[in-house]
């Protein structure tokens, strides 16, 4: 008996492993045809979730899976067919694969400082020189005599790419010793906890823990972004590999239609139309 027990002990993990493998295989193959998968930009993610639940309310038998990952993941996964729809919060460049773009919304990028900072506005040139590292003290832009801690996103981030295009321009780079945080939320936490910090986040993430600066004298509000007076606004795209058909087309049409666009507006983004 002793031996039999030990023998079973060896068998058990083998069973477990093969069971896991089998269920993983079934899980992959089991995706029903009425499922839409979306992945990509973390800026688009909360909006896509709202749009998906509204679409599901109208089409109860449809299942929509929304994932984050970042714009790069969105572009890559839709191109290799892992997901039906990719999400990008930046313009596609020449090095990206050719994909069909659906302009879902526009989004403002806010320049944020902690609430304790008395500075309430900067010009876009001041933001550029601060992020390039040419201005390093708040007193140079009308604040207290304290150093400036620049907080930025990591290379490849859609928000960073958009910020670089619209604020830094071709000739200026974000300084190499800037603190980098890997998400909008992390940038907000880092800025709110450091009295000397400055950072940038999507409009959708602004809350009472940080202060969004006026840029060129224009407050960072949704109406100002909508009427074009706020200067830092970027596109948010849904991407498909080819012209969408069937269920995917229904969902994208819903998002770009009046109903979807009213959700876009309600969530703090700027409707594409």
């Amino acid at each position: 008996m002793q031996f039999v027990k030990k023998w079973k002990l060896f068998i058990l993990p083998i069973f477990a492993v093969s069971f896991l493998a089998a269920s993983a295989l079934l899980g992959c193959a089991g995706g029903a045809s009425n499922t839409i998968t979306e992945a990509g930009s973390t800026t688009v993610q909360p909006l896509a979730e709202k749009l998906a639940s509204a679409f599901k309310a109208k089409n109860p038998d449809v299942n929509i899976v929304i994932q984050g990952g970042g714009s790069g993941v969105g572009i890559k996964s839709v191109n290799d067919g892992t997901v039906d729809i990719g999400a990008s919060s930046r313009e596609l460049t020449a090095s990206d694969p050719p994909l069909v773009k659906h302009l879902l919304a526009r989004d403002g990028i806010a320049i944020i400082v902690p609430l304790s900072n008395p500075v309430s506005g900067l010009t876009i040139e001041q933001v550029r020189v601060i992020f390039a590292g040419n201005i390093t003290n708040w007193s140079q832009v009308g604040g207290p005599d304290k150093g400036i801690d620049v907080v930025a996103r990591e290379e490849g981030s859609g928000t960073r790419t958009a910020f670089e295009e619209m604020v830094m321009g071709k000739n200026a780079l974000i300084k190499a010793d800037a603190i980098l945080q890997p998400s909008n939320g992390a940038v907000k936490t880092a800025v709110s906890s450091d009295p000397q910090a400055i950072g940038f986040i999507s409009f959708g993430y602004i809350d009472s823990s940080v202060k969004a600066l006026a840029i060129n004298g224009v407050a960072a509000t949704e109406p100002n972004a909508k009427n074009g007076s706020y200067p830092i606004v970027r596109p948010l795209y849904f991407l498909t590999k080819t012209q969408p058909t069937g269920l995917v087309k229904d969902f994208i049409d819903f998002c770009l239609g009046s109903e979807g666009q009213s959700i876009v507006a309600k969530e703090g983004y700027i409707p594409s139309m």
Binding site: I11, S71, D149, A176
Partner: protein
């Protein structure tokens, strides 16, 4: 009912399968990482990749030296604190502390091992980073990373070291005391040297955990890719660098991150084999009668 004979003949194959599984997994990971990283080594060039000082993936500049330095800096900083603290604590637990205090401390140390790294990172970000900001710089720094890693690796070093000090044969201690050595002399000259291979194993485990830590490091080191000038400067570690950028990476950038993974792999293998050599040299002490 399976016959005893059958089991006896085939058990060894089962064990063999189990043993090969771990090897196959290791080989698969190594081959995959290497294969994905290879294009970066080919296109950027091995030396330019490893000794390049500029990392700007969007401009196709892939130099990972700053990250190698970052990883080594936070790990060395952590070990400078964790090794003396850890061995001291292990000696206390194994030799000095009364039974009751040991009963209190030992579980506390064990629970510390189980705390997820993101919690260490969060505490570091909200507690240690502001403290370091008061000294100078932004607070997100090598110093903050080292302190967090100290807290993370201490429990490993303590528990492994304590076990190995306890495993020193009783007659060593009795012999030393009988020769007139006092308790401290016995600990310092007999117990710790006799337990050194175990203590070293604990330290190596700690270094392994420190150098591979990504989450907590992302949260407290500031992730700036630059060669640091002081412990108060922000830095990026190899593991942190992979975790920060892999979400957005594609093409050569993604290959370069896998190349970072290869470098991390090699670094850890160098440390482990170094440890193996040292342990082999120090090993026999414990077996001498």
């Amino acid at each position: 009912m399976v016959s005893r004979y059958f089991i006896d003949r085939n058990a060894k194959y089962l064990v063999l399968i189990c043993a090969t599984t771990s090897f196959v997994i290791l080989a698969a990971i190594a081959i995959f990482t290497l294969r994905e990283g290879l294009p970066a080594f080919q296109q950027v060039g091995l030396l330019k990749l490893i000794f390049g000082t500029e990392w700007r993936p969007t401009q196709e500049k892939f130099g990972i030296l700053p990250m190698i330095i970052g990883s080594l800096a936070v790990t060395i900083g952590a070990m400078l604190l964790a090794i003396p603290l850890g061995i001291g604590c292990a000696v206390l637990l194994a030799e000095v502390a009364p039974h009751r205090i040991r009963q209190l401390l030992r579980p506390a140390v064990e629970i510390l091992v189980g705390i997820p790294s993101v919690v260490y990172g969060l505490v570091g970000m909200l507690l240690i980073v502001p403290l370091i900001r008061d000294i100078g710089g932004t607070g997100y720094s090598i110093a903050a990373g080292s302190l967090v890693l100290t807290a993370m690796t201490l429990p490993t070093i303590i528990s492994v070291s304590e076990d190995s000090i306890r495993a020193v044969p009783r007659r060593y201690k009795e012999g030393a005391l009988a020769l007139g050595a006092n308790h401290w002399q016995t600990i310092w000259h007999v117990l710790i040297p006799a337990a050194r291979s175990g203590i070293l194993a604990g330290i190596i485990l700690g270094i392994g955990r420190a150098i591979g830590e990504a989450m907590a490091m992302i949260m407290v080191t500031g992730n700036a890719v630059q060669i640091p000038n002081s412990p108060l400067d922000p830095t990026r570690t190899l593991a942190g660098g992979i975790a920060v950028e892999i979400n957005y990476a594609s093409g050569l950038h993604e290959n370069a991150l896998f190349a970072v993974g290869v470098v991390l792999f090699v670094l850890i293998m160098i440390i482990n084999s170094f440890a193996l050599v040292v342990m082999r040299r120090g090993g026999p002490a414990q077996d001498v009668c």
